[in-house]
Symmetry: C3
């Protein structure tokens, strides 16, 4: 297992971590890279890369904020559950994703990039990377 | 593959199954544990553990019920599709998640626990556990 | 890694690909099949099989369209991000799922089938299949 550390800059942010993940697996001869986020208010997902990617990321961020509204009558917001919406948004993305490898290269689609999905930033966040044969 | 059986108590319920999953992998020397739920109205996800965890779970349950409303004009509710909302809520969580292992210990974050997400309980539910090297 | 190609027929469509995936793994002696979709507007998920399955699929399609509304005030729809809703719907499903194998057979539940989730069809779509030991 390798562990990557990245820093998010905003409260809700899709942060492109493709380069960091690609570097972590480049010397591997495994067939599958599994990424795991050990946080309860951040997830991992694949989204658009290249021109227009930041626009897509911004739209995904806004959509998740809209779908899970901070203004809802949350039951437990005053009982040690400071940000239930962050937890729900995390549940809607994923804590792990597995990506095939070809000779140490992530077998991503042409338009795919790997994003950490931050829902309670800014923070330093961790991604574990496990390569399987 | 090992198979765990757990019992849910409510219709919509995040059930903490961390102890059962941890016990299933504790004698393993693998690098990755994959959990798979063979049901169409239950999923698996990682959420908050420790003090306040039940409050977070309750808020996640309520949010998923709110986001996928039983009162929507479902097309097929009378045609053998008794509970379409349960299927949609399952689609929003996950059927599998993969967690790194360190010497037989789940490499969870400090605040993470593993939850079965029940959307049509109470029921007896199954979780398959596969350890990869 | 094996690569399957399937064709979707509608803009939003849950397409049952269980037979194609089952055929891809049937000669394998591995313990886990990981499916990966290298697209940013299509995902993969498990849903109901058998009688009533198409009704469930239709309800899931309609629910995802409803939850992520094309009529929202999307910021970037005119800036090279033609269909942000397709990307968000993809984020809500998954890009990978891992299914246990028993002697070359997918260890699916009685009522489970594997669906490609199309959010920008009709298109030809690709699914990568990696079997781990």
């Amino acid at each position: 297992m390798q562990t990557l550390t990245v820093a998010t800059a905003r409260r809700t942010q899709l942060l492109d971590v493709t380069a960091e993940v690609a570097a972590a697996v480049e010397d591997s001869d495994g067939a599958l890279a599994t990424l795991f986020v050990p946080h309860t208010t951040a997830g991992i997902l694949l989204q658009a890369a290249g021109p227009g990617a930041s626009a897509v990321a911004t739209d995904v961020e806004a959509a998740l904020e809209r779908m899970v509204d901070e203004g809802w009558p949350w039951d437990h917001v005053h009982e040690g559950d400071r940000n239930p919406w962050s937890h729900v948004r995390t549940a809607l993305t994923a804590s792990s994703v597995s990506i095939p490898l070809n000779d140490g290269t992530l077998a991503l689609g042409t338009h795919q990039a790997v994003f950490l999905a931050e829902f309670d930033g800014p923070r330093e966040r961790t991604i574990h990377v496990v390569v399987s044969s």
